[in-house]
Symmetry: C3
Subunit: 425 residues, 3 copies
């Protein structure tokens, strides 16, 4: 005859296992977003800068993982964690990051409902996402190792500090700022860092003509851009769906399902409306606008994917899709050169997402949403600006004019991405 | 001391959570099939029509999601659902698609074993799959917005009606027609709509010479076609595996595992036999035939992935692989121009899959399988033909000869997919 | 009032279902690695050999699945399985591979904790992984059907025999050889078979100049190589994470989470250190070295992803990243021509991974790790050499000089991968 306490304990363990597995699957989907950014950006730059953008993307992901392990996680979640570089060197890799995870007694006492290491895995792929946003905006003219140096600082310090403010139970969270999965903490953060870099870096040669004229510099491989967008779309189910943190009872399972549906609908709404607007405005069904529209829909719903109905989610995404087209055109008028539209997608629409929370979530405070937007933006923009500036003063951030003309692939990576495909003159 | 009723309730909730999560994971895999079709089709068309086929694919997916939310789901599952456009506008987004999902009492009473929203998510990605089949067949010569208009009608009305016949517990289901995951409801449906479009559209210029001669128009980027096939292969585990609807006990878990194995084996069988046949017939190991063979194996097993042994599944897939090669050659003899072979893969082999059910499932009735094939085909083909015809009469379905010669990318999307890669003359 | 025995039984069934589903998800991720190898290899060969490497990859995966079903699984796990070709032909597809899986009584008695078919699915994608390693190393000069013939023998016989030694509870396992997820059984196995083939095949024309000079033959499509690497990175979470075999209690869930984290960190460490080393050694941030560094990190951690801390995992991967760069340069000095670096990544670093077990796992025996390395390498290398040799004597393994010059796509597949993109002269 089974003992009821024993059976109840098994049930608790099983719920812990399900939540951990769910968290790991969602984390793997977010890791997959690294491939999405890589493909998107490599599709939207010119052939001569492709190998370098690939190197940047795989490099920044790796740097983000290492820096977040060494420093970032302990800054962002100081209470839970004793494995960072700020403890003595001998404890790196011990504490949470060592072999000790929750034990059975802790779980049964209700003090933990998923593995801490699954949480670390989920968090570490988020910081990589934020950094991925930067690489597209500064493409085709930045020095590779200066970029990597910035990645070290953003992922090890700048991102975790504002992450702590919200998700580490810091002052923004206490005040009432709402940001479910990171329209602000992740996306606007990345965009703010990118904007600082772009302002210091300047536009690509030939992008803006003398009379206010904007020259299109088309991406060299649009199937890769479409693939990247679809990868990001898929990965976003993990990004938003995993941010519920739990799936193991009826209410949580329903919540995760609603988040999946809303995430999907927002992307669809964003794509359709960006496509319609580009058809009306430019006369053509501009594929790159459509792709950015889908991403805008995803960013817009990220701050609150749980309270809207799917119909409302579609509208929130659709407004994101309209905004991103307008923003891309506007930034070009301001001569802010962002080759892939990352500042528009993640920054402008990230702000929209944070504001849109107020329309569907009764607990939202418009004032605190604004405080969150301003404080996160200010922190990330200012610190990033300083870091980029110091790098510019020391090792420099921009490649030489000749290197830019020849393409950064040869100067930075010593190889070409498509050595056999002759470029049209 | 725990209460046994409470523990039993937790177990029920946990099973609900597992089934919901399984359903969402499978749905995400099916959503990923959108990327598979996108890559497959963009690899199999010419460079000058690539941006347009990308736009079609991401656009149709988004349209399918929106139309199925607005109309399709309530047509296909009328009993369960109160959120469609047919209720008053004020209820769009309420009902099932609003925030109300199953509550704990309903679940514990055994009236629901997964989230309704996870079901919606799974269903919505299925309708997108059906529509994806169409885009490849009409590639390289159709007007973009005419295609989107058709997508609105297929995903909002034509697909859901026949979906209701089978999966919404309609007359085909009552009669005894078996179609586990949709060889008929999804794949043959898409192929029938595609065939109607292709007949009204005509062949691409230069495809068929004056003396019955068939000119190969090779795809421009075969790695993308291979990638697309492998994405579809992966996604199909969700497509078939999720169609079991439940995983949370021993019998269901075994069933889902068998479905995964059989799905994989059928694809392997289809690929190997299509490759062997093309080697014997044409003298060369034709990669595109091999890829279509794998897809044919997947389509063939979809009507019944649960009753065959893995060895039988391999044979069912292998016959699909042989059929697809023969069908592609035959359609070309009939001057039915299908650039990616979609009608053969999803239509001809879809029919084979529905018939093959009779060989392994004792409950199948050959007569009802035929009734299902004929009625679904007739419904979809005739309604699609009418819709395509009306569109042709009004806004037209075919681009001008000059646009076709220049490529639809420039005329429809205003950009090129590979602007830097000079095409061989 | 619920019966406690009944509730306890439900809990056992639910755990079985969760473990089965986890196993299937991990298996699907490993299947996805087939796409990773396909993209990686197609990115690293020249355009004229791309269609053939695609055909090889999709073909070998299919052959591996079929041969492992027919023979391999019953050789590797002889006790559990009664469905192989060695029983009478009438039983193929019955036994384990038929419809019989574990029943409820078996599960409740504790004799099984996941579906046998989910185990078969997981194992079958592993053997495909091993065979995928070979295709890259012999690229650009081997006859297609000779390669497929070798694939039949490796996946049906050579791999399963050594797989039995370790994972089928054979003598290596009894002795104490540790190889958690297959640095040896899968990766070094594939590399040993590849090395035998490469030695008999010889280098590509023009690779090695008369004076010991090594000519770089750059890959034609680096975005695909990067995509392939990221696919493999994602798939590896299933490869290592699934090898824990169980997730359904606190200890197992924590273990799987640690494996995900360590797998990710090792890849990051490998990438960063390979990139740094290539920068220091060659003066440039060589993207292909970085990609191989990530893969090396993944191979290195595969033998023991559970006992290292994440910091130690990063170091184990980093050493793998350094080794792979050194190994690639060294093999070129030895005129062993491996177009994608597979022998270095999977062979040299596989050995490193097996040795590194001793640094973090107290149960490891250095002697038995060496015995495992030597015996697996010897078995696979010698049998592969014999098989390749017999194939060379009979149907030949190398294409003609003219075919090699023209590219194997035309001679073997009768089509081109990129027919429209004019190669630079």
């Amino acid at each position: 005859m089974e003992d009821i306490t024993q059976v109840a304990g098994q049930v608790t363990e099983l719920a812990y296992a399900l939540d951990t597995f769910y968290f790991l699957v969602c984390g793997a989907l977010v890791m997959w977003m690294a491939a999405g950014f890589t493909m998107l950006e490599s599709g939207l730059v010119r052939a001569k800068n492709t190998a370098e953008i690939l190197t940047k993307n795989v490099g920044l992901y790796s740097i983000a993982c290492i820096m977040y392990m060494l420093m970032g996680y302990s800054i962002m979640y100081p209470g839970d964690y004793e494995g960072g570089i700020f403890q003595s060197l001998s404890t790196i890799g011990t504490g949470l990051l060592g072999s000790s995870d929750n034990d059975v007694a802790t779980v049964k006492a209700g003090d933990a409902y998923y593995s801490n290491l699954s949480d670390f895995f989920f968090q570490v792929v988020f910081v990589a996402t934020a950094m991925s946003i930067v690489s597209g905006a500064v493409a085709e003219r930045m020095k590779l190792w200066s970029f990597f140096l910035f990645a070290v600082i953003l992922t090890g310090f700048i991102y975790p500090v504002q992450g702590f403010w919200k998700w580490g139970s810091g002052w923004l969270n206490e005040g009432g700022f709402l940001d479910f999965a990171g329209s602000g903490v992740v996306h606007m953060c990345g965009a703010a860092a990118a904007l600082a870099g772009v302002l210091l870096l300047g536009a690509r040669k030939g992008k803006y003509g003398p009379g206010g004229q904007v020259n299109a510099i088309p991406g060299c491989n649009l199937p890769l851009a479409a693939l990247g967008t679809l990868i990001l779309w898929l990965g976003w189910f993990g990004f938003n769906g995993g941010s519920e943190l739990k799936v193991s009872d009826v209410g949580e399972a329903n919540a995760v399902a609603l988040i999946f549906v809303n995430t999907n609908m927002a992307a669809a709404g964003g794509l359709v409306f960006a496509l319609l607007l580009s058809r009306l405005w430019f006369g053509k069904a501009d594929l790159t606008m459509a792709l950015n529209g889908a991403l805008a829909g995803l960013v817009a719903i990220t701050a609150e994917p749980l309270t809207p109905t799917p119909f409302a989610a579609t509208l929130i995404g659709a407004i994101g899709g309209v905004l991103v087209v307008a923003s891309i055109v506007t930034l070009d008028k301001l001569k802010i050169d962002d080759p892939v539209g990352a500042i528009s997608v993640h920054g402008v629409v990230g702000i929209w997402g944070l504001i849109a929370v107020c329309f569907t979530n009764d607990e939202a405070s418009f004032v605190w949403q604004l405080i969150g937007i301003v404080s996160i933006f200010a922190w990330v923009f200012i610190t990033s600006f300083i870091v980029w500036y110091v790098i510019r003063l020391t090792i420099g951030i921009r490649v030489s004019e000749e290197e830019e003309y020849e393409g950064v692939d040869l100067s930075e990576c010593g190889l070409e991405a498509y050595p056999e495909f002759k470029p049209a003159e």
